[in-house]
């Protein structure tokens, strides 16, 4: 095999002159033909198929696939089943945010990560496991198991977040105090962002990926002239950003951080913590609202085009499917990385012109920024000396 599947890396090359990044080149990762695996399959096989292939975020992909197929085949499912799927992806996002934080905070082996992993698996099973894709018979989520699990998850995440978890509505001053005095894993992870030159590193303006209606999505992923490029997707001719910061940008604490540090490293890291806390709270609330699940309706047709979008840990995930005569005949997936690592998008704009300090500091700052935008993107970073571009004369 010429390409290892787990290492389809993206290349980022930065030219540095006088401790400033003066050129950025982003070579998108090679596209893997993942969509081809769904072709010829009956719809009911596809959510599980993608859940196996995308084994780090299986619930997000399976949910997007199920919803796209329901749209294509005119299948209606109950709000309770939708809620169950949403809670599964919430658990998955909590797990990913927590594990990425633990991996990056330079921790040694502790009992916490294995407990978290096992607990999340248990919660997803108690939320119905794979049966949330068109259950054949009614079932009831195991409320007792879910309550016990949610309490345990709350304890684990509060351990990760320390005092931030217990402060109901922290402001920036409270966060600074937390960073100075707490010893939790989140603080160990965030503290480097307080170094001089780090908090607003990567500050830039890139518009958020807008809320898409289904017709917009069908146009964006369809075969017509509005189709977005898989390697450099744009909307309204502009690169877009998706992910934690976009999702949390209306939270009071993040608005305060944006006013001080812009969309730099500090605000981005803080947005991940705010999101982690918010997800666990919404999971606890959501579990209390669960109700018995009824099977969905039978397909209203044997073919059609369907789209779906869902928020995965890394950002917006979009699926589009076309079904004919009961078989999948076209499939397309647009992943968050495609937007955030657009060759002239978020990462490009964040890095170009940024002051980076000496060589060691440059690498550390850039890597920290890339990891906070997307901790799951396999990349190779090359730093090289460069000539500062000569400004183009205006006249």
């Amino acid at each position: 095999m010429s390409t290892n599947i787990g290492t389809a890396e993206l290349l980022i090359r930065c030219g540095i002159s006088s401790e400033t990044i003066v050129s950025v080149s982003i070579t998108p990762r090679p596209l893997l033909p993942v969509e081809r695996l769904a072709l010829g399959k009956p719809p009911e096989a596809v959510p599980t198929l993608f859940g196996r292939l995308f084994s780090l975020c299986p619930k997000a992909h399976a949910k997007a696939a199920a919803r796209a197929l329901e749209d294509a085949l005119d299948i209606s499912v109950s709000p309770n089943l939708e809620r169950l799927r949403d809670l599964q992806t919430t658990v998955e996002r909590v797990r990913e945010l927590s594990l990425n934080l633990l991996l990056a905070s330079d921790g040694r082996i502790s009992p916490w990560p294995p407990r978290l992993i096992t607990l999340c698996r248990r919660l997803i099973a108690a939320l119905g496991g794979d049966a949330v894709h068109w259950p054949a018979a009614p079932f009831e989520p195991n409320a007792a198991e879910l309550r016990v699990g949610a309490t345990e998850l709350e304890a684990l995440v509060s351990h990760l977040l320390g005092g931030l978890w217990h402060t109901p509505q922290p402001d920036l001053e409270a966060v600074r105090h937390w960073l100075e005095h707490d010893t939790c894993a989140a603080v160990a992870w965030m503290r480097p962002a307080l170094q001089p030159g780090w908090p607003d590193f990567g500050r830039c303006a890139v518009d958020a990926l807008p809320a898409f209606s289904d017709p917009m999505l069908k146009a964006a992923l369809g075969p017509g002239s509005m189709r977005v490029s898989p390697t450099c997707p744009e909307w309204d001719e502009l690169p877009r950003e998706t992910g934690c910061l976009v999702r949390q940008s209306s939270a009071p604490l993040i608005r305060e951080a944006l006013a001080v540090y812009g969309k730099g490293l500090f605000t981005r890291m803080l947005a991940r913590m705010v999101e982690l806390k918010s997800l666990v709270r919404s999971l606890i609330e959501g579990i209390e609202q669960l109700a018995p699940i009824e099977p969905g309706s039978l397909p209203g047709r044997t073919g059609g085009i369907g789209v779906a979008q869902t928020e995965a840990a890394r950002g917006r995930l979009i699926h589009r499917v076309e079904v004919a005569d009961g078989r999948v005949c076209d499939y397309r997936i647009l992943a968050p990385t495609d937007w955030n690592f657009h060759p002239r998008g978020l990462v490009y704009r964040a890095l170009l012109g940024a002051a980076v300090g000496d060589a060691d500091s440059a690498k550390a700052r850039i890597e920290a920024f890339l990891r906070v935008v997307d901790p799951c993107v396999d990349h190779r970073l090359i730093l090289e000396p460069a000539e500062r571009p000569v400004p183009t004369p205006l006249f």
Partner: protein, 100 residues
């Protein structure tokens, strides 16, 4: 793409383990899953084990990745791949099933 790769522990060391998978052997960071005995399947991503896998789940993911490798090489057979998913209904976890 959030695609993890199953690997099997060959030799455990403190904080890491020498593992083998379909793409060869590699040293894997085990901080998230803890030390695991020889023969254990783990889901790896970017050099770190993210989860301990049951052998059945490891086999399912490996089969999916094999399908992807075939697609990359241009000889993917849709009729043969994922045969276990065709004509099958989604299953509830055991503890949610009605006793029979």
């Amino acid at each position: 793409m959030c695609i993890g790769v199953p690997m099997q522990v060959v030799r455990a060391e403190p904080f890491q383990a020498w593992c083998k998978g379909a793409d060869g052997e590699a040293m894997v960071d085990m901080r998230l899953v803890g030390s695991q005995p020889e023969g254990t399947w783990v889901l790896t991503f970017l050099g770190a084990a993210r989860e301990v896998l049951e052998p059945e789940r490891a086999a399912q993911i490996q089969a999916a990745l094999a399908g992807l490798r075939d697609a990359m090489a241009g000889h993917y057979d849709p009729a043969a791949a994922f045969a276990d998913l065709v004509d099958r209904e989604p299953q509830l976890p055991d503890f949610l099933r009605e006793p029979t």
